[in-house]
Amino acid sequence: MKKRVTKKVFKKILDSIQTGKKRYIKISSAHLSGISYLNIGDAGLEFLEDLSRSGLKFKVRTTINPGCVDYSSAIKCDPEVVEKQKRIIRSLKNIGAIESLTCTPYLFDNPLKRNQKIAWAESSAALYANSIIGASTNKEGSLTALASAILGYTVRTGIHLRNGKKPKIRFEYEGELKDEVDCGLLGYVMGLKAGTEIPYLQIKKCIGSILCYKQLLAGFGTSGSAPMVWIENLTPGFSRVKKPKRKIIIDRAELEEEKKILSEEAPLFHSNRMIFVTGCPHMSLEEIKSFHEALRNIEKLSMEAWVFTSRNVYSEAFRRGLLTDLFEKGVRVFKDSCIMHCSLKNSGIHVITNSVKAAYYLRGSLRLKTTLKSLKELVDEYGGK
């Protein structure tokens, strides 16, 4: 078939997700998923190259998710994968994408304001945009976000409707959240229970760090399909929202139950290669700073640790000398890529991570064994003396 990719095709894609009368809403920013060659393969590469040849351009500021390769890293990947990942990124740049290669575009590359209407794929970023910043996006798929980026508008459904942000279910968590792993697990359990409904969350003992909420939302996006969580005392405008009557209490035992499925005992001896992986979603500068701080009194970790972040945060952390210190302690820092890294495929490596989302996908897609541990546990157990 010698059909060119046209605007009409993208309009049809948007229309196909909306039944009844077609209504649209202008957007001012887009973020695309489906960038990694490991994920979209030859079929996706072929489509993006065709699109890039069509002459169509993105109409709004458009950033992209990480790929699966960090070109500057010493950890090498299959040359074919490296080449094809390059071609995917080149095509997207041709269409006008910003080479952000991060799942946290809200930090630098694609900053948002409250009430901004956007079309973002990448569930953890969409949830962050809605729940922490107060912007509005549905949880877009790779192709609907791409269509919106080309057209400059999206369909007025879901969260863009008049009462689209209204919470329908209230969650109360009474237990303790001792670290970011607990936060991720709570989000994951909420996602399983909420399904498509937007929840309102009340936590008795609120832990202040934004890392916790980042993990909570990433966990929620992994198991649920709602585009946002109202977090009491945090989400902009929470005090004006009517709290839903329907209430579900979540307790510690439910978190432990899900943990058993996503996490197994780490092998005592390094019979298989084991690495610690963090930065899913990508670490912010503040998170790198606090990790750096936690390792202050440690000479070298007894296990290799991998940190994933965006190229912007990477350069800034490098400039401040943080990365050099981390390298010395056995920590590799990656940019432009994520935990679904080219070198982990078929590697048989046992991965220890503080991200529930990472554990879920490493087990499901890369068939690796995983253990959930917080950064603090990493330092305590593998910090040596």
């Binding site: 894609i13 196909s16 393969g41």
Partner: protein, 133 residues
């Protein structure tokens, strides 16, 4: 026999009806160069989708399935038309990219009105499926 259906992507197609009672995963479950279903233990394992009118309840698995359908269409080995049992963004988006007509129908009605393998016309302009006489 004429069955009224809802149009998702317009166009006309003619071909032998292939009814799948199970969802199909296009990414990983279909050979992207030939259109043959390769998913282990799928009831249609080994069957070629090429130029068939595929009736399927929905897709399953990765959203990358859309790109696979696009690739099949470019190589001329995609189904000529698709009848969906329920709304499915992955198949719809892929078929729209590849220029394949798609309709939405009640799968039970498809099963009771048509025989697997018979030639049908998919009129995804006026929204109907006809048995070829």
């Amino acid at each position: 026999m004429i069955l009224k259906v809802k149009v998702i992507n317009t166009g006309f197609a003619k071909g032998a009806l292939l009814i799948s009672r199970q969802p199909i995963s296009f990414f990983g479950g279909v050979d992207p160069s030939t259109g043959v279903i390769v998913e282990k233990n799928h009831p249609l394992e080994g069957v070629n989708l090429c130029r068939r009118i595929l009736a399927v309840p929905s897709s399953k698995g990765s959203t990358v399935g859309s790109y696979v359908i696009y690739g099949l269409a470019k190589r001329g080995v995609a189904p000529s038309g698709v009848i969906l049992g329920q709304e499915d963004n992955i198949i719809s988006a892929g078929a729209i990219l590849g220029g394949i007509p798609v309709v939405l129908a009640d799968m039970r009605k498809i099963l009771s009105s048509f025989e697997n393998g018979e030639t049908v016309i998919l009129d995804a302009r006026r929204g109907r499926i006809l048995r070829l006489i």
